[in-house]
């Protein structure tokens, strides 16, 4: 991908073509990676599905943190809302069609996003972080208290989704769940690419850099971020619902501060403010974690810590951010 982008730049094609080209390329690479994943790791599809689910959460976080500059350590509230809503729809209301569960998850995620947004936007910087932490703890505690609905700390079990489209069962190998997840991820990715490149996306990036300038253009900072929070909630809801459908259990961990913090770590690891950065961060973190924790289940945390430190030292803008900045510099040098 990088090489191709290079060529385009050297050929001096207009920016428009280059952008659209890299978009198609990005989607193509994700598809290729998904297919490769299916055939290279046919026995790890559950893990890959989980990675997709978390990737959706990280993408969702990127929308508010990377594109709008909102600092949050409570984003799992949106993800968990989607997961619990989809799970409860199945367990308590008999909505077991996966697509219907997905819709419920998206709605709940959006609602949770709006609620979080209203509260989180009341402050900036560190106090904003604290607000987000408070929100995720309140969500967590509410789910713990409402144990007759949520199963409390034992988890919401016995979620039994119907076959997808009435044809494909969710099997032991997670093939259906994986393909379902890949399709969802692609749809979300394409929609988000459109959104972040749209005038609205530009407005958001502007807000991240300088809200005062945006206000001086006559645009509403608050209103814009709230919209982004709603979209972010929907995306997190997709991830949460996918988690509920593929795992068939929803635990309190999906609403936890820990998951929120991990998502932030993955995002920063990949690079904020780009969708591919979010994807690369999630995949590399979870993949690395899986390998080292299987190699040494007892002391892997140290190695993950070392990885994070190395990334800050040698790729301070995240894996994707640093790589693309490096390529940009090389392009300039060649000009």
């Amino acid at each position: 991908m990088a090489a191709l982008m290079n060529e385009n730049a050297i050929a001096g094609k207009p920016a428009r073509v280059r952008l659209a080209g890299s978009d198609l390329l990005g989607v193509a690479i994700v598809i290729a990676a998904a297919i490769a994943g299916y055939f290279l790791f046919p026995n790890n599809l559950a893990l890959l599905t989980r990675i997709i689910s978390i990737a959706l959460l990280v993408l969702s976080l990127d929308l508010v943190t990377g594109y709008c500059g909102v600092a949050t350590l409570g984003h799992a509230a949106l993800y968990g809302a989607g997961a619990y809503a989809a799970g409860m729809a199945a367990v308590h209301f008999g909505i077991t069609d996966p697509l219907a569960m997905m819709a419920v998850g998206i709605l709940a995620g959006t609602a949770a996003g709006l609620l979080s947004g209203v509260i989180v936007l009341r402050a900036h910087g560190l106090p904003q972080l604290v607000l987000s932490i408070a929100i995720v703890h309140l969500f967590h505690e509410a789910a713990n208290k409402a144990s007759s609905w949520t199963g409390g700390s034992d988890g919401l079990a016995s979620i039994a989704p119907d076959p997808l489209l009435g044809l494909f069962e969710f099997d032991l190998w997670s093939r259906t769940a994986y393909v379902f997840g890949v399709v969802l991820l692609l749809v979300v990715l394409i929609v988000l690419r459109l959104v972040v490149r749209s005038p609205f996306g530009m407005l958001c990036r502007g807000i991240k850099e300088d809200p005062i300038r945006i206000r001086a253009m006559g645009a509403s900072v608050h209103g814009t971020i709230m919209r982004m929070y709603a979209i972010s909630g929907a995306v997190a809801g997709v991830g949460g619902a996918l988690n509920a459908i593929s795992t068939q259990v929803v635990g309190l961990d999906s609403l936890s501060f820990t998951l929120s913090a991990e998502a932030l770590v993955m995002l920063v690891l990949g690079g904020t403010g780009s969708l591919y950065g979010a994807l690369i961060g999630t995949v590399s973190f979870l993949w690395f974690e899986d390998i080292v924790s299987a190699a040494n289940p007892f002391h892997w945390l140290t190695i993950v810590g070392a990885l994070l430190i190395l990334v800050v030292l040698f790729a301070p803008r995240g894996l994707y951010g640093t790589a693309s900045a490096f390529l940009e510099r090389r392009q300039e040098a060649r000009r």
Partner: protein
């Protein structure tokens, strides 16, 4: 689709037969993170069993594969279980410290043709989720019920119950309440504290104000327990003669050195004390201490793991190394043996372990270490929790 699955399943089971010489056992537990100590105990129990009974059953070599789920995370647990079944080809799944992690895996068992031996997760309902679940640990109902009788015997009429607000805590509260009320006592107040509570002084003040003669408490082992027991002493409840009853998680052996004198005299009921006096236990403690490195870290999950391995070895024996979950589980229904904790039996109905529950008191030994001294035995206790749920 279904046909593909059946074909694939057949392939898997054929594969199982063809390579019966190595039998893989997948262990899922918290081996890092805040509960690493419990995972370490799993490993110690497993290592001890294999050190004492060899790593072969008949001609088959047993291989253990560990996977880490640091904190309750059902999605992670399920993904790992799937990977263990499909990729690693394990014939048995075991471990499971947390209930949700076990719950997430139960739907896989039938399809994967894999029995699950739970070494700890203590919510009653898990065994009902799949016919292939066997449990060698305990339930909170099992360990918290007898203490109610103990309290009554000590002449306590009014108790205040204080538990951490999560599944096991709620189970403990319900079990105690049911048994204590049935024995003619009154639970004057029942408090469920958030798990994140650090400062217990206000709770202690509340216990005092409630006019209860005793407190029944359940908290997860570790820092919260230490804080709670210290607060009990420092706020003068002990001096005021308010008695302290709890299930044995509270005086887990690995916490005793930290608890020190403050824990002296606390009465707990539990299925296992490291100080249990029997030749089986002596041999176990010796082997497990060697396995864990620091004997002070040894506590109850190790015995759950040790007996879990016993059950798995019996299953392997019964199936002759072939992958047959039904046959394996059937073989251990009603299995009785002398565990380090005392005589035990797998209840053929519930597939949960029937065991003795002991009343213990924290005591100081001659060499200055603390231990749970067994002072009374409640024999052959089943799990009242299943009945209560129905």
């Amino acid at each position: 689709m279904r046909r593909i699955i059946m074909a694939a399943l057949a392939a898997v089971s054929l594969g199982g037969m063809a390579h019966a010489d190595t039998i893989k056992v997948g262990v899922i537990g918290p081996f890092s993170g805040p509960f690493a100590l419990q995972g370490k105990n799993f490993k110690a129990g497993i290592d001890a069993y294999m050190a004492m009974h060899g790593d072969t059953v008949g001609d088959d070599k047993v291989e253990i594969i560990y996977r880490d789920v640091p904190a309750p995370d059902p999605a992670q647990s399920k993904a790992l279980a799937q990977e263990l079944i499909i990729k690693e080809g394990v014939q048995y799944l075991t471990g499971f410290y947390f209930t949700p992690d076990a719950m997430a895996v139960t739907p896989l068992l039938t399809q994967g043709n894999v029995p699950m031996v739970i070494m700890n997760a203590a919510t009653s309902a898990i065994v009902t989720k799949s016919p292939f679940v066997v449990r060698t640990s305990f339930t909170l109902w099992q360990t918290s019920t007898p203490i109610a009788q103990v309290a009554r015997d000590k002449g306590v009429d009014k108790v205040m119950s204080v538990v951490s607000d999560y599944g096991p805590g709620v189970d403990a509260e319900n079990a105690f309440k049911a048994a204590f009320t049935a024995a003619g006592g009154t639970v004057v107040e029942a408090i469920r504290m958030p798990l994140s509570t650090n400062d217990f002084s206000p709770i202690m003040q509340r216990i005092r104000d409630s006019g209860a003669q005793a407190v029944f408490a359940f908290l997860p082992s570790g820092p919260t327990t230490l804080g709670f027991v210290k607060a009990y002493n420092q706020n003068g409840l002990k001096e005021a003669g308010i008695q302290f009853f709890a299930p044995g998680d509270l005086t887990q052996e690995s916490d005793l050195p930290a608890l020190g004198d403050t824990a002296l005299g606390i009465l707990t009921t539990f299925h296992y004390s490291v100080a249990h006096d029997s030749p089986e236990n002596k041999a176990f403690v010796e082997a497990a201490s060697r396995a864990i490195g620091n004997p002070a870290e040894l506590s109850f999950p190790a015995v759950g793991a040790f007996d879990g391995m016993h059950v798995i070895y019996k299953m392997i024996e019964a199936t002759d190394g072939e992958q047959d979950a039904q046959k394996a589980v059937d073989a251990v229904k009603g299995l009785a043996w002398e565990s380090p904790r005392g005589p035990v039996e797998i209840d053929p109905e519930s597939r949960h372990i029937t065991e003795n529950i002991y009343l213990r008191e924290v005591a100081k030994s001659d060499d200055g270490t603390y231990y749970n001294k067994e002072i009374q035995t409640f024999e052959k206790q089943g799990d009242p929790g299943l009945a209560a749920a129905n």
